[in-house]
């Protein structure tokens, strides 16, 4: 009999589910969008930010939007409370939360307690802990959830979006989609191992449960 009890080590867990989410989320539509645009940028609807610091968060935002996450209100001076895209220019047309990994995390989760906390929850692990507790993460993730990577707790440098999780394979893995270096099914386990290999074991990875 399998006992699903994990003695996990986690830097922090923030449950935002008390906040009523102002959107519903269609995971199959989010997956379809990832499949269609992971290597074929949707330049008809969105600018490509690869040359402006990377396109990873722009792509994650597009996927969430395709899944049904609603835009917030528009303003000429958007903060972490806003998230929308009507055009490439920051301000009334686009928020920093749409394209910036740190700002995106502060909108859907938080940065040291301050944020819009629009998602359902956010787990913070060190990279080594995430690898040690990989089955726990596998158990928690659903397609369309966000994996954010940071060198410290105050910022994020990369955003990935969960495309799939393995069924019928051990060790278990989670496949993430991303832009900039384009992937549909990059192995999260391998990416975390690579970070540890590069001396980043004590740095951070954030799991944002979108819905």
């Amino acid at each position: 009999m399998l006992i699903l009890v994990f003695a996990i080590t986690v830097v922090s867990y923030a449950d935002f589910s008390g906040n009523t989410t102002d959107y519903t989320f269609d995971r199959s539509k989010a997956k379809e969008y990832m499949e269609k645009y992971w290597n074929n940028y949707n330049i008809k609807d969105y600018a490509d930010f690869t040359a402006y610091g990377g396109d990873c968060t722009n792509f994650a935002s597009q996927v969430l939007r395709a899944g049904g996450v609603s835009f917030t209100s528009r303003t000429t001076n958007p903060t972490y409370n806003h998230w929308y895209y009507y055009g490439p220019n920051w301000g009334y047309d686009r928020t920093a939360t749409w394209t910036g990994a740190t700002e995106f995390r502060q909108h859907f989760g938080d940065i040291k307690g301050t944020g819009k906390k629009r998602a359902v929850s956010m787990y913070t692990f060190t990279v080594s802990e995430a690898l040690e507790n990989f089955d726990f993460i596998w158990l928690r993730v659903s397609e369309g959830d966000i994996i954010s990577h940071g060198h410290d707790l105050n910022s994020s440098y990369h955003t990935q979006i969960v495309y799939d999780y393995t069924i019928g394979a051990r060790p278990r893995d989670i496949k993430v989609a991303q832009h900039t270096a384009n992937y549909l099914d990059r192995s999260l386990r391998e990416y975390l191992e690579q970070r540890v290999n590069a001396g980043q074991g004590n740095e951070y990875v954030f799991l944002i449960e979108v819905w």
Binding site: L2, G54, W138, L139, S155, I167, N197
Partner: protein
Amino acid sequence: MKKIYVILAIFLICGIGLSIGVYALQGENIWSKIYSKDIDNITFDDLKAARDELNKSNLSREEFEEREKKLKEAIMEKEEKEFPEISVSEVKQDVDTLIEKIKSDISFFEESIKYDQTINEKVRERQKIHVDNLKKLLSEVETKEKSYEEYFSEYENLRLKYVVDYQKLRNEN
């Protein structure tokens, strides 16, 4: 003649209705097996189909979470029964595997150099040096003139030197 069309139409409607019914029953059947942990009678393909169906469902978040939890528990139980030993595929210790590892490291660091806006310039410069060193090592390893152990030792030396420098430089401005 008209009667034949009517009879055919009735058969067609019944057939479609029956197919829908059987399909729905099969779907429900999988979920009842998942809920009762009847894992011997579920295949991994069934579990994948259940996941796809779940993703397409219009369940509320709470209902989705509950179903997904049951699904994942069933997957884990089945995997642990079918593959009791965690099959961490043993990393092959040969030159070809090392070549792939070095190439993968180069891509990882090039991604960081180009797009990571949160690292300082000293780290970025150190990463560039590391990538140059890895590229030089790669061209040597590709000749396969030395043993795996010798090349791996050179790789590890480079990696450890990088890690020490990275730890030192990452908090410098």
